[in-house]
């Protein structure tokens, strides 16, 4: 079923017209309500009158995570706090999180795009949808929740973790749809096996997986082990959360809800738009959001856009599975991790620049993070107890900032290889 056929199957001309109109409105609003946007536009000699259609998009300055940090927490909001009904947050590049605010209309729009996504995945109102994304500041849980309710399907708001309970409810409540990170799906498959539950006895039919990168090989593995169709959903909290785009049952790229999120692909070096179909960095302009509209927001995700009509009948532009990042962000168990966050923690414990290396591995189905920290003179104590305390302190600080567990290993000075250029801070051994 196509939830909003008028939009999802619009002609390119109709879509461009709608996008142009919404872009004009958005630019008016941000120019008049957000000083930092106005300053940036004035700096390049732009007024709202210069933006007439989507063809003028490339004239506008970019927005990055740094802008969000500089305006922390609410500086980029275009409405007073009395209009904001919800706040979510994700990792920033340093200690401060990235905060987004939603008006009531934003929440409705978000529910709409998630409902469309669920329909793309083949979910209908008779389904029982088990939402095993985390509920909370993370957008995964509540995003899927509102979309599922909007569709009229039954929600099991179980949140993440407690895998044996997840399986018990799958059996008892007859869940037909599971929403979680792809790595957690594999974890569920493993526990099913341990509990000797045959997936064929479950009603599970569809899985909607996102919040971390995963490969086609992983898709095949999940589909075989859980005996379901595995659908890729994409989103980032800055833009709205899950539902920015989603695959349809043909699994040939994620349809972008482009009547709300206007996509572009740029060369991350030159910042110029690439030729259609070329690989580059995905940039979004939100054209209906009220709380925190973002103009040409650099997602740092590398992908390409496909404008061909899809077999499902939708004309919404598709984006390929992301091919990587144009920055050093890692996604570990669905959590965004920046090496700079680790550095901030270590710097708080010593005045001297720390030498560290993050190693990400996949043990079984779950990702693990090991942090090697060189014990320089400033860290070194003659007492075992103090070194163990130091290790615990680093562990706890990082866990509280990142929200994921970390194995801290103290190593001798000069253990971590020095390269002439930029220090290598990350070794990602996962084969995604």
């Amino acid at each position: 079923m196509i939830w909003n056929e008028k939009i999802e199957c619009a002609t390119r001309g109709e879509m461009r017209l709608l996008q142009g109109e919404r872009l004009r409105e958005t630019v008016q609003r941000i120019y008049h309500n957000v000083p930092s946007y106005r300053k940036k536009m004035q700096a390049v000699g732009l007024t709202p009158a210069d933006i007439l259609s989507v063809d003028d998009l490339a004239k506008l300055p970019f927005t990055t995570k740094i802008d969000l940090r500089d305006n922390y927490p609410f500086g980029l909001f275009t409405v007073p706090m009395s209009e904001i009904v919800r706040l979510h947050a994700s990792s920033g590049t340093t200690g401060k999180p990235t905060v987004v605010g939603y008006t009531r209309k934003d929440i409705q729009m978000w529910a709409e795009v998630v409902t469309r996504s669920l329909c793309m995945a083949g979910v209908h109102r008779n389904d029982v949808v088990q939402i095993a994304y985390g509920y909370g500041l993370f957008t995964g849980g509540l995003g899927l929740h509102y979309g599922t309710e909007n569709l009229g399907a039954s929600v099991i708001p179980i949140s993440g973790g407690n895998t044996s309970k997840q399986i018990q409810l799958m059996e008892d409540f007859g869940s037909s749809v599971i929403c979680c990170t792809p790595s957690y799906a594999l974890n569920i498959a493993e526990v099913l096996k341990e509990m000797k539950v045959d997936p064929a006895t479950l009603k599970l039919r569809v899985g909607i997986f996102g919040a971390e990168p995963w490969s086609e090989a992983m898709r095949k593995e999940i589909e075989a082990k859980l005996q379901i169709k595995a659908i890729d959903i994409y989103g980032l909290s800055e833009i709205v959360g899950p539902g920015v785009s989603c695959e349809c049952e043909h699994q040939c790229g994620m349809h972008i809800n482009e009547d709300h999120f206007l996509p572009e692909i740029i060369d991350p070096e030159t910042l110029q738009p690439v030729a259609p179909g070329e690989l580059g960095e995905l940039v979004f302009t939100t054209i209906t959001k009220e709380g925190i509209p973002l103009i040409r927001y650099r997602t740092r995700d590398l992908t390409r856009l496909i404008y061909d009509k899809c077999e499902c009948g939708r004309t919404l532009v598709r984006m390929q599975k992301c091919k990587g990042r144009s920055d050093d962000m890692l996604i570990i168990r669905g959590v965004n991790v920046f090496p700079s966050q680790i550095e901030t923690v270590l710097l708080q414990m010593s005045e001297v620049e720390p030498h560290y290396l993050m190693i990400v591995e996949r043990e079984g189905t779950l990702d693990t993070l090991t942090l090697m920290v060189e014990v320089q003179e400033q860290f070194f104590s003659d007492e075992v107890r103090k070194l163990q305390e130091l290790r615990m302190k680093i562990t706890r600080s990082i866990e509280s900032i990142l929200g994921i567990s970390v194995n801290v290993k103290l190593v001798e000075p000069k253990t971590i290889e020095r390269t002439a250029g930029k220090a290598q801070r990350v070794i990602d051994k996962r084969r995604l």
Binding site: E377, F380, D382, E383, V384, Q388, E412, K414
Partner: protein, 141 residues
């Protein structure tokens, strides 16, 4: 009465102790006492050497994390109950011991102590007429 002990951070991997002793050997530095505190993750090598400043320098040049720690060395008879007597005195006077290691040579034994309060430790032991080894004597062993 203060003795400078060298402490070296070591990862738990084979060959590291060997490397430290080779470096010191090549620099012509003799070790008179030596102990390793180990955990599952790492170890701390503690040693007494004749020329601690030189040892500190050469180990740092070889990228080891090194520190100098003040310890006390008690000389007591190599006979049953002798150590107990000294420890009882420290305990009675509320001097806590962070760690300790000992070695005996013939008639007497040397006990290296890292107390929480080194000044008080020395005072208490001296008040009880216990013999403390002077740095200059220790290195002759």
């Amino acid at each position: 009465m203060l003795i400078k002990q060298l402490s070296v951070f070591l990862e738990n991997k084979s060959g590291r102790l060997n490397e430290v002793s080779n470096i010191l050997g090549q620099a012509g530095i003799n070790m008179s006492a030596f102990t390793v505190a180990d955990t599952s993750e790492f170890g701390i090598l503690r040693l007494l050497v004749a020329d601690h400043e030189k040892a500190y320098k050469v180990l740092r040049e070889n990228f080891f994390s090194v520190s100098l720690t003040d310890v006390v060395c008690l000389n007591c008879p190599n006979e049953p109950g002798a150590l107990g007597k000294a420890l009882q005195i420290l305990s009675d006077n509320e001097v806590a011991i962070e760690y300790l290691y000992a070695y005996s040579v013939g008639e007497s034994a040397n006990v290296v102590i890292k107390p929480d309060n080194i000044g008080k430790c020395i005072k208490v032991l001296q008040e009880h007429q216990l013999e403390l080894v002077k740095a200059s004597d220790l290195y002759k062993i």
